[in-house]
Symmetry: C2
Subunit: 312 residues, 2 copies
């Protein structure tokens, strides 16, 4: 049994991670400022003797005693992280520095939730961990992409200089229940639009690709990485690649929707393709995703339906 | 007459900038922690009514009233910035954030001394400002390269969100008097080695290239940029490109040295070539370098000779 800190634990990924860690019998402390997360995502644990929820912003120092830190606190969807770019960078830079300072003091292992966005609009396909990336340092996505890049750099600076034990998970697009319905990302948009028989909005021609993993696969990957000895970055994602048009059709079919498909302008610096090479996770962690896209989408659609019903 | 803050003003570039600004009649405040700078570089101004020297580290907040900020504080040579990578990143990230916070409060224009290193080991040659770069986010140079990239990102986050007036100078390799003799960079190493008739150490085969500008050219470029309306990044460098072997031979000849040339291992991630495209500086600032390489080298050699004589 370990004392585990999950920053951003009231968010989408964090709350699923908390569920799993609690079920494993650990003592779990969640730190969250509720910018994009919500109490409801973890309310089923409130009152449990192994669970604690701290309302705290990671850009301020934090002094607690823990064995492992899963550092997830950071807005993740483009509309959220572009809402206040200065705050996004502060969260990634100062937030990560504080968690590394904490890890250094209490000798905890610190796992950074990094992202496939550090590869930017990739010129290598699929992306291996050795790829250096293709990121616009001053574009509208930079507050997130460069923030995560420098967070990784900080991890290895503390690792080499202060012997902090670090893990870096480069997370690829993830979906599942408790995603924000209004976060503007493709899966949530398409499901909402389909369920409400509103037009499905494809940005650009729809030929750009993404590879989506279901959230429980990601959680298993994060836990496997944390408890491994692998201190170099590892891609955690599902290599099954689809065009955005395929997602639109699939989601429309699964929801038996009457939505028409419309095209809108492509956002600036939108990556044209993305697909993880997960050889390293397979060989060094024995991990690979197991949930089928359709299975995951059905669960997510059921969640969105229930949320919509509750709202009305 | 303006109130001007120069962070890192006791360093190599900073002290030349201070000289020029003082000669122009401005009120100049230098902030420096003397990590790589030294009082001697600005001692000729101490006591002047327009000059102030503050011993301060930019990772702590600073509250003063100024009109312009030249933010140069950051170790610049690989041995210096790798000496304490955690501190290097804190200086670039928190230091730049503090200077942007200051600029925001007092409505000052803030110029960031960025670097050609944000282009990394470039795959575009020469490098234009539109190039996104090729940087290893977790390599040994990352504390500097990614630190400067995120510093640029911060500039544009504060610019778009808080209307801070920013200038970003992407400075290419620079040399001249007051360079650190022991900073391990190529010009200082080769001059010292030549003057002492010790072996000239070429790392690798010597076919890698750099383009060196003389420090007074850089200072004129920085001042032109600050006082322009150009708030997007601008390369400031000399496009005259030479192989490292050519530098070795040239410096050996100018010093009439008997040094032999030896080859050592190439450092990790050493960029193979670097040369600025300065079209933007020429057209938008009317700036271009004017000092010949040989002229600059002779002055630098004279400075190193005098320093060596003083030491002995
Ligand atoms: N969901 C994905 O597809 C995906 C892909 C790559 C990486 N990631 C990373 O995984 C992590 C979790 O993402 P998510 O999808 O669950 O997003 P999310 O927005 O649901 O969760 C982020 C959580 O962090 C909290 N938070 C944000 N800023 C904070 C701050 N300054 N202090 C304290 N708490 C703060 C939010 O309130 C929220 O609960 C993020 O770091 C994200 O970058 C997610
Ligand atoms: N010299 C070059 O070839 C070159 C090339 C590209 C960019 N630059 C940039 O120009 C700037 C000046 O470089 P330089 O060659 O004069 O280097 P330098 O090391 O001589 O000067 C840096 C100065 O900053 C000070 N400093 C460092 N960390 C500080 C901190 N935390 N707080 C306060 N002061 C601090 C140092 O004491 C020093 O006086 C740097 O930002 C560097 O990245 C230089
Ligand atoms: O238990 C701790 C220890 C450190 N920190 C913060 O982590 C950051 C980086 O720590 P480090 O030890 O590198 O900083 P230092 O204290 O040496 O400046 C600092 O801002 C600390 O305030 C923290 O939040 N909790
Ligand atoms: O309503 C939408 C939302 C997104 N996208 C596209 O879907 C892809 C994934 O976008 P998302 O914001 O989900 O994630 P990210 O770009 O960060 O992978 C991108 O090419 C978007 O342009 C789309 O076509 N319609
Ligand atoms: O005159 C000032 C104003 C701000 N700051 C620092 O600049 C940083 C960023 O400023 P911002 O206004 O973004 O931060 P906030 O105060 O809103 O957290 C903060 O850490 C401030 O302490 C400073 O050093 N001098
Ligand atoms: O004694 C030396 C120092 C540097 N270099 C090479 O000279 C180039 C410029 O190195 P420097 O450290 O001056 O600056 P950089 O441009 O790499 O930051 C690089 O290719 C180095 O490998 C060299 O051959 N011998």
């Amino acid at each position: 049994r370990k004392r585990i800190l999950v920053t951003g634990g009231a968010g989408f990924v964090g709350s699923h991670l908390v569920d799993k860690l609690m079920m494993m019998g650990h003592e779990v402390t969640v730190v969250d400022n509720f910018f994009t997360g919500r109490k409801r995502n973890v309310e089923h644990w409130i009152g449990h003797e192994n669970f604690e929820l701290i309302h705290h912003d990671v850009i301020s120092p934090l002094f607690i005693e823990v064995d492992q830190i899963y550092h997830l606190a950071c807005p993740a969807s483009p509309p959220h992280y572009m809402y206040n770019p200065v705050k996004t960078i502060k969260t990634s830079s100062m937030g990560t520095m504080n968690m590394l300072g904490l890890a250094k003091r209490v000798r905890a292992t610190m796992l950074l939730a990094s992202t496939s966005e550090i590869y930017g609009d990739p010129e290598e396909h699929p992306q291996k961990e050795t790829y250096w990336g293709h990121v616009n340092p001053i574009g509208p996505r930079a507050c997130y992409d460069e923030g995560k890049r420098v967070a990784e750099t900080m991890c290895y600076a503390y690792s080499s200089q202060d012997k902090v034990d670090v893990r870096v998970a480069r997370i690829f697009n993830t979906f599942g229940p408790r995603m924000h319905m209004q976060d503007g990302r493709v899966v949530s948009n398409f499901i909402l639009q389909s369920l409400q028989n509103e037009p499905i909005t494809i940005y650009g021609n729809g030929e750009q690709t993404r590879s989506f993993q279901y959230v429980t696969d990601l959680v298993n990957g994060l836990i496997a990485l944390m408890n491994s000895k692998v201190n170099t970055p590892v891609n955690i994602g599902n290599p099954e690649e689809h065009t955005i048009s395929e997602f639109a059709t699939l989601i429309r079919n699964l929801t038996k929707s009457k939505s028409e498909i419309v095209h809108k302008a492509t956002p600036t610096d939108d990556p044209r393709k993305r697909k993880p090479d997960i050889t390293k996770a397979k060989t060094s962690l024995g991990w690979e995703p197991v949930v089928e896209l359709e299975t995951g989408l059905k669960k997510t659609i059921a969640y969105f339906k229930a949320e919509l019903e509750q709202e009305s």
